[in-house]
């Protein structure tokens, strides 16, 4: 038999137990919007009973633990998914930059009522259109060798050269932006590694003294998720619940110790590479935004830059070869048409720009009115260039644009798909670990009612004790 005091004790413990329930519900409600928070439930068990002559008699209930509801399977999937998302998001950003830099967009002035309407208002403001304009200006000069035709040629050539310079500059800026992104990402990864090692230590300390470090575990899970969005990592559970982190078999965190960090360096061919800072071991990253940015920078972006440069240098030499073999209307020669060697440096010879009359389109020093070289220059539009995969200038550039378009379109599709998968995983994780306010409110009421009931037990016992004491005085 528990007796009056035993029962009072039991009621007091019950008050504490129900109070813990209210506390946990409160904690869950408070963290309903906390990213990465896993809901907690209070574990209540009946206390050990006492054997009596009439059978085992209960001693109430007590809290045996506050448990975090997590799914390590979903967490692992979210980490992997985060790496893929990070990779494609990074690619998308860089390629979007490159597409803007290329500035090759179609403009339209309104929808046509049906596809059968033949009048098209579509125009193109980029390099492709300007290249055609230059060839057309040469064609016009051949047909009508007037001063205004000469100026039109110089104008078209200057516009083309400026666009080349701008594109080259923009692609260069995109490359610089990619470098900055990679170094920022590497710095973030190193910071996350430091905090994961430190969380390992805190968690070990907390759990050594018998507690459960639920909130620290959430924080570490968040940090691991952020880290895997940056780079692919492999984790394993070590002693005292610590998470060991390694990349490509290179250990970065063992237990509480941060053994190495990441750094980037430039390879022999100008590509960005990642290695461990201390050990200097090369790392082959397979996912995450660091590798996404590097792949876009050293892949499509470099290809673009090379193709635009090849396009510019072949155009310069093709135009100059024809132009330099000719004479101006006064029989003079010796001026290049284009100066420079690539997209960054291409320009119209300033001597011609200042005096369009110096254009050399006559095949003979004595035939000043000859325009046969202007005709030849305009026909370069349809001439295939061996150095440009045996394509014409126009089709080579169109293919370059389409190449970038394909890469970006692929990245866009991947990002959309990954977002869908990611949302689905988050919903699934939410259904396990997320807080539902209705549920917590119900729990709150449940514990409140139980607390009220236990308090009623205390009141009853108080009355009973009063009654017992009154027996003596009366």
């Amino acid at each position: 038999m528990l007796g009056l005091f035993g029962t009072l004790n039991m009621a007091a413990r019950s008050l504490q137990t129900q109070m813990t329930g209210v506390e946990v519900a409160g904690q869950n409600l408070a963290n309903v919007n906390t990213p990465g928070y896993s809901r907690q439930v209070v574990k209540i068990a009946a206390s050990a009973d006492i054997g009596t002559t009439v059978g085992a008699e209960g001693t109430g209930a007590s809290v045996t633990g506050i448990q975090q509801i997590v799914s390590s399977l979903l967490n692992a999937q979210i980490q992997t998914q985060g790496g893929t998302s990070g990779y494609w998001n990074a690619q998308q950003t860089i390629l979007q930059n490159a597409q803007n830099g290329l500035d090759e967009f179609l403009n339209g002035s309104g929808a046509t009522p049906s596809a059968s309407t033949t009048s098209s208002s579509t125009t193109d403001s980029g390099l492709s259109g300007q290249l055609t304009s230059l060839f057309n200006a040469f064609s016009s000069l051949a047909a009508s060798p007037s001063t205004s035709s000469q100026q039109a040629v110089i104008g078209a050539a200057q516009q083309l050269a400026t666009t080349f310079n701008q594109i080259s500059g923009q692609l260069g800026a995109a490359q610089t932006a990619a470098n900055t992104t990679v170094s920022t990402d590497v710095a973030s990864a190193n910071k996350l590694l430091t905090s994961i090692a430190s969380l390992n230590k805190q968690i070990a300390t907390a759990q050594f003294s018998g507690g459960t470090a639920n909130d620290l575990l959430d924080q570490r899970e968040q940090a691991l998720e952020s880290l895997s969005a940056l780079t692919n990592i492999t984790t394993s559970t070590g002693a005292n619940g610590a998470v060991n982190v390694n990349i490509n078999g290179q250990t970065l965190i063992t237990g509480n110790t941060l053994t190495d960090t990441l750094q980037t360096y430039t390879g022999a061919n100008g590509n960005l590479l990642v290695q461990t800072a201390g050990g200097g071991a090369d790392l082959t990253l397979t996912s995450g935004s660091i590798q996404g940015t590097i792949d876009a920078r050293d892949g499509e972006l470099t290809t673009m830059q090379n193709q635009v440069d090849a396009f510019a240098s072949n155009l310069i030499s093709a135009v100059n070869t024809v132009h330099d073999s000719g004479y101006n209307s006064a029989g003079g020669n010796g001026n290049n048409f284009f100066t420079g060697t690539n997209a960054a440096t291409i320009g119209v010879n300033s001597a011609l720009a200042n005096n369009p009359g110096l254009i050399q389109i006559s095949s003979s020093p004595t035939n000043g009115g000859d325009t046969s070289l202007a005709l030849q220059l305009s026909q370069l539009a349809g001439t295939t260039q061996t150095a440009l995969n045996s394509q014409t200038f126009g089709s080579y550039y169109d293919a370059t644009v389409a190449g970038l378009g394909n890469a970006l379109s692929n990245a866009n599709t991947q990002v959309t798909n990954q977002t869908t998968v990611s949302n689905m995983l988050q919903t699934q994780l939410g259904s396990v670990s997320g807080v539902n306010t209705d549920e917590e409110m119900t729990n709150l009421m449940m514990f409140q009612r139980a607390y009220e009931a236990s308090a009623q037990v205390v009141t009853t016992l108080n009355t009973m004790m009063g009654d017992t004491l009154a027996m003596k005085t009366s």
Partner: protein, 314 residues
């Protein structure tokens, strides 16, 4: 399935984003009339459209070149008409002067008229193209007038020098197709385009033949006029007739090329439209669908967000 409270807001946000971006894209397609604007929208269609646009712009240039050549051919034609008149008058003079009834004073009157004809021919042969300011009949040489004359004490033309050459400039009027409306003033090589005034292939040498006619009129050598000058002038007349006919051929060629360029341009417009234009009906229907979905998502979202157990706890 257990649903976390934030799952509503998270999924609603991502649905709103996706629907808003759909509407943005469709609205943009309606307002620009284009289904492809950036290379990533549809890389193949973009490359095709750029190719068609460039091709169309080239066709427009062909049309411009054709117009330039047509104007020049018309200018050349009017010069040819006046040369034809001069040539037939010179032929008449040569025929009339051969008659034995003519006195020397009649012949002198004819000689004066021929002098005027010579000046008219020189002026006509030195005509400039009004659009470029270049001489029409100087070949590809530039600078001085194609025909310069030497005169005697009376101001009569005694000799003619041609300063041009026998080449002509070609202009592009179609893919792989060039044409020229120019005629060189003289061609003594016997090959290439026939000269306007002097042409060794046809034996034409209009100005020198006129000078010879005038000299024979002045000296009263009617035998030479009948035996030589008449025949020579006939060659000149034939040469000019050839040039008139040739000019007509070129103008026909230009008209054909112009209609070819124009129909090419039209079919390229169609191809550009097919590869890059948005179908307005279709796009509007899709936009309506997206708007309806957006409205439904907003309404249901707003309703769900208001509801919770808290509404019912007193």
């Amino acid at each position: 399935m257990r649903i976390a409270t934030n799952a509503y807001t998270d999924s609603m946000l991502s649905q709103f984003n996706s629907l808003a971006s759909q509407q943005y894209t469709l609205q943009n397609q309606v307002s620009t009339g284009l289904s492809v604007q950036a290379p990533s929208d549809n890389p193949t269609a973009m490359a095709n459209t750029l190719n068609y646009l460039s091709n169309q712009s080239t066709q427009t240039q062909y049309t411009a070149n054709i117009t330039t050549l047509q104007t020049r051919a018309t200018n050349v034609d009017s010069v040819l008409q006046s040369l034809q008149t001069i040539s037939s008058r010179a032929g008449e003079i040569a025929t009339s002067a051969g008659s034995p009834t003519n006195s020397q004073s009649d012949l002198n009157n004819y000689a004066d008229e021929v002098n005027q004809l010579i000046n008219q021919v020189v002026n006509a042969a030195n005509t400039k193209d009004p659009s470029t300011g270049k001489y029409l009949f100087g070949g590809t040489a530039s600078g001085s007038a194609p025909f310069t004359t030497t005169t005697d004490a009376n101001g009569d033309v005694t000799g003619v020098t041609y300063n041009g050459n026998s080449s002509v400039n070609q202009a592009q009027i179609g893919a792989g197709l060039t044409a020229s409306a120019d005629i060189p003033g003289a061609n003594t090589s016997g090959t290439g385009p026939r000269g306007l005034i002097t042409d060794s292939a046809s034996g034409a040498d209009f100005l020198n033949h006129l000078i010879s006619l005038r000299d024979n009129l002045t000296s009263g050598n009617t035998t030479a006029i009948t035996n030589t000058d008449s025949a020579n002038l006939q060659k000149d007349e034939n040469n000019i007739a050839y040039q008139v006919a040739n000019n007509g051929v070129i103008q026909n060629q230009l008209t054909t090329a112009a209609s070819f360029a124009s129909s090419n341009s039209t079919s390229l417009s169609q191809m550009i439209s097919n590869s890059s234009s948005a179908d307005l009906m279709n796009t509007m229907v899709q936009l309506n669908q997206a708007q309806t979905s957006y409205q439904a998502a907003l309404q249901s979202g707003a309703k769900i967000m208001q509801l919770s157990l808290l509404n019912y706890i007193q």
